[in-house]
């Protein structure tokens, strides 16, 4: 992996930019998904779909406590168990307890960003439980010992040559560049795991309050395997991943799949309402839903609730020029791209942990235009930048520069003096290079790396005005 997620932000970006293979892989993945999304939304009344999905989610957020209680009631009535976790540590503790009570040795998982957020795999492996990721992309990531780089396409940063080498080494199959052969190898390897696992862990794309149903969306079928074959099923959901009714679920589903990969529907939409019934031939005997906060109530309190509308579709990642240039690992967080730049600082106990991310944006607003729930991401990024300054997390040079400006602008005389100084200095520099300034001293040299800096005018507007008025009075 070319990007070290533990390195500081600037270093991560440099590493990403200096790896052409990463760049082309990310470009290929995102270009496809951008085109697919556009076509899928154009094939239906895409604007109406976005408006209605947003409307529904706004209602959900306004009534979140009641809907969560309704969900809990119904999951319990279905024979399932409901657990609440304020943070990741608590959630992991709960999963470990469930595993202990059920004598679980092996877990199979379908892709879940929420479980990545709380580092669930590590918590389970620490108690000698084997965890197997079953989403093909996540499985590859796990074999490689890496982190996913995209919400929907976790191996967007890998080329087929990398994957072939990995499988050759870890699965002991001959090297091949045939995707079907690689896929068949993964299928066989994972098939054994599915059938021997004691517990399946999934995320939850959305839960339906009125029926106590957890919906999982996959194209591969591993979501179904994970939630049907092992005897225990645990689903982890963020508190905001809720819809009121079945019809709302189907609406949100279509907004999600069309925005994520440009599909009318994903191949499998699995809707689970508790454990299997007594007279059913197969299915898990135990169902557990873990409702996770982990910073979401704080996000609402700090008035960033709009970010809680997110469906986790990845459309904003695919269209973002920053993401497309550096890929997901450069963000150094579970969540990358525009939404990641917003929620990573908000979900963290201290925003400053991710202080560079709100600045990793040109505010071009392409993300807002593709978001299925119309989150005003640029607005949220700007607000975060302001909050970071208020909380003292601005870089020192910036703080000093602002302080200097405040001093200079605090009276007319000092402002005039500063202006005269700037004019004299800039014109002196400009005369050295015949007109425009080619080189500014650090830290301003970042500006002149790719463009010139014009000199200030020789006379200020005030001076010019006073001269003119004097001239007029004479006439």
């Amino acid at each position: 992996m070319s990007v070290d997620v533990h390195a500081p932000f600037k270093k991560r970006v440099e590493q990403a930019l200096s790896d052409p293979a990463l760049g082309s892989a990310v470009e290929r993945a995102t270009r496809r998904m951008v085109a697919a999304r556009a076509a899928a939304m154009a094939a239906v009344d895409g604007e109406r779909l976005r408006n209605q999905t947003r409307q529904m989610k706004e209602y959900v957020l306004r009534h979140l406590p009641e809907l969560l209680e309704e969900l809990e009631r119904n999951v319990k009535a279905n024979g399932g168990h409901v657990h609440w976790a304020q943070d990741g540590e608590e959630a992991n503790r709960i999963v470990r307890e469930i595993a202990l009570q059920a004598s679980v040795k092996k877990v199979v998982k379908s892709k879940s960003m929420t479980t990545e957020e709380i580092h669930l795999n590590q918590a389970l492996e620490a108690t000698d439980i084997q965890v197997v990721e079953t989403d093909l992309g996540e499985y590859i990531i796990q074999l490689a010992g890496e982190l996913p780089s995209h919400i929907v396409a976790p191996v967007a940063h890998k080329r087929i040559e990398d994957i072939s080498e990995l499988f050759h080494e870890k699965l002991d199959i001959p090297s091949t560049l045939d995707p079907a052969a690689l896929c068949a190898a993964a299928r066989a390897a994972l098939r054994r795991e599915f059938f021997s696992a004691d517990m399946g862990i999934s995320g939850c794309n959305f839960a339906i309050a009125e029926t106590g149903t957890v919906c999982i969306v996959t194209n591969e079928g591993n979501g179904r395997m994970v939630t049907s074959l092992p005897r225990v099923h645990v689903a982890v959901m963020g508190i905001e991943k809720l819809v009121p009714t079945v019809e709302d679920a189907i609406l949100q589903l279509q907004a999600l799949t069309r925005s994520a990969t440009g599909q009318a529907l994903s191949v499998y939409v699995s809707m689970t309402s508790g454990p299997r019934r007594e007279d059913h031939p197969d299915g898990p005997d135990q169902f557990h839903l873990i409702i996770l906060d982990n910073g979401r109530t704080k996000m609402l309190e700090e008035d960033y609730g709009e970010a809680m509308l997110c469906l986790r579709c990845g459309a904003c990642l695919n269209i973002c020029p920053v993401y497309r240039t550096v890929g997901g690992h450069a963000y150094g967080s579970t969540y990358s791209g525009p939404i990641g730049a917003v929620i990573s600082p908000l979900l963290a106990p201290d925003k400053a942990q991710f202080k560079e991310l709100p600045h990793a944006s040109t505010l071009c607003s392409a993300c807002r235009d593709v978001c299925p729930v119309k989150i005003d991401l640029p607005r949220l990024l700007l607000d975060l930048r302001a909050d970071l300054v208020v909380e003292g997390a601005a870089p020192l040079p910036e703080k000093l520069a602002i302080r200097a400006f405040i001093k200079a602008a605090s009276s007319r005389e000092s402002f005039e003096r500063a202006g005269k100084l700037a004019s004299a200095a800039s014109n002196a520099l400009a005369s050295l290079s015949g007109g425009n300034i080619h080189f500014l001293p650090p830290p301003l040299n970042a500006w002149t790396q790719s463009r010139d800096f014009p000199p200030f005018a020789r006379t200020s507007f005030r001076e010019w005005w006073q001269e003119r008025m004097a001239l007029r009075q004479r006439d």
Partner: protein, 259 residues
């Protein structure tokens, strides 16, 4: 105070504030009148069947449309024999195949919309693995190598080539999930233009919520399993079936006789 109460209290406290710019004060929920149907399909049941087939083909599935139950039964057998032949040819070329048995994983024959199918298959020496065989967890290993699953559907939706299968007595989840190939039997009486139209009908009958809950597991399936994780190249049959063949047939006569 429990985590549950802390989370709920915190939410309630925050939502009471007047200075919160989000969420809006009085958002309107969507209602059956206002909620949109995302996709559309028109025509009589034959037109819908054709539309279903075309959508399924776009998703790399295949289909046959038959006019009677008897023809449908023959179509199922024909498809099985075609696959059998394809596999034999593959073996001759020594391509490694993982699941070798010609067992069939079926839903309970009473739940299938084609009567007489199970005996016909047995006559042709197919071995049927039925849901009761799955009750013993050790016996579950039997389903591991089965190559073909045959199920009915609870509904099908023409506009997206989607089938809806619910778990239930005699209706195993595995039959449409673990085999390499899946045959879905779709009587036209269960074919709807869109998923929204089916939802509306169930809601009107007052059975939608109960259907979801009593099934414990309801799945919408649109085509064979696929992934584009490897360099955005499409591969089929990642975990779920690699091939799905839909047999659509007119059961109107059968319904009239039964009714």
């Amino acid at each position: 105070m429990s985590s549950r109460d802390q989370i709920l209290n915190r939410l309630r406290r925050t939502l009471k504030r007047y200075d919160l710019r989000f969420p809006p004060e009085n958002p309107t929920p969507l209602t059956p009148e206002t909620r949109m149907a995302v996709t559309h399909a028109e025509g009589d049941r034959w037109a819908l069947a054709e539309r279903f087939g075309q959508e399924l083909e776009k998703l790399h599935g295949s289909y046959s449309i038959l006019e009677t139950v008897a023809e449908a039964r023959m179509a199922v057998i024909a498809q099985l024999l075609t696959w059998l032949q394809e596999d034999q040819e593959q073996r001759r070329t020594k391509v490694a195949i993982h699941e070798l048995d010609w067992d069939l994983l079926l839903w309970e024959p009473e739940t299938l919309p084609i009567p007489g199918l199970a005996p016909a298959l047995k006559d042709l020496d197919f071995r049927l693995v039925l849901p009761q065989d799955l009750q013993d967890p050790k016996e579950r290993e039997r389903i591991y190598p089965v190559r073909v699953g045959i199920t009915g559907v609870d509904a099908a939706f023409a506009s997206t080539g989607t089938i809806l299968v619910a778990a239930g007595p005699g209706k195993s989840r595995a039959a449409s999930l673990t085999p390499l190939r899946h045959i879905a039997l779709i009587p036209l009486s269960r074919l709807y233009p869109t998923v929204e139209s089916w939802l509306a009908e169930q809601r009107k009958q007052g059975s939608l919520a109960d259907f979801l809950r009593e099934s414990a597991n309801v799945v919408l399936i649109s085509g064979p399993s696929k992934s584009a994780d490897i360099e955005m190249n499409l591969t089929l049959g990642v975990h779920g079936p690699q091939q799905i063949h839909a047999v659509l047939f007119d059961d109107l006569e059968a319904l009239i006789k039964a009714g």
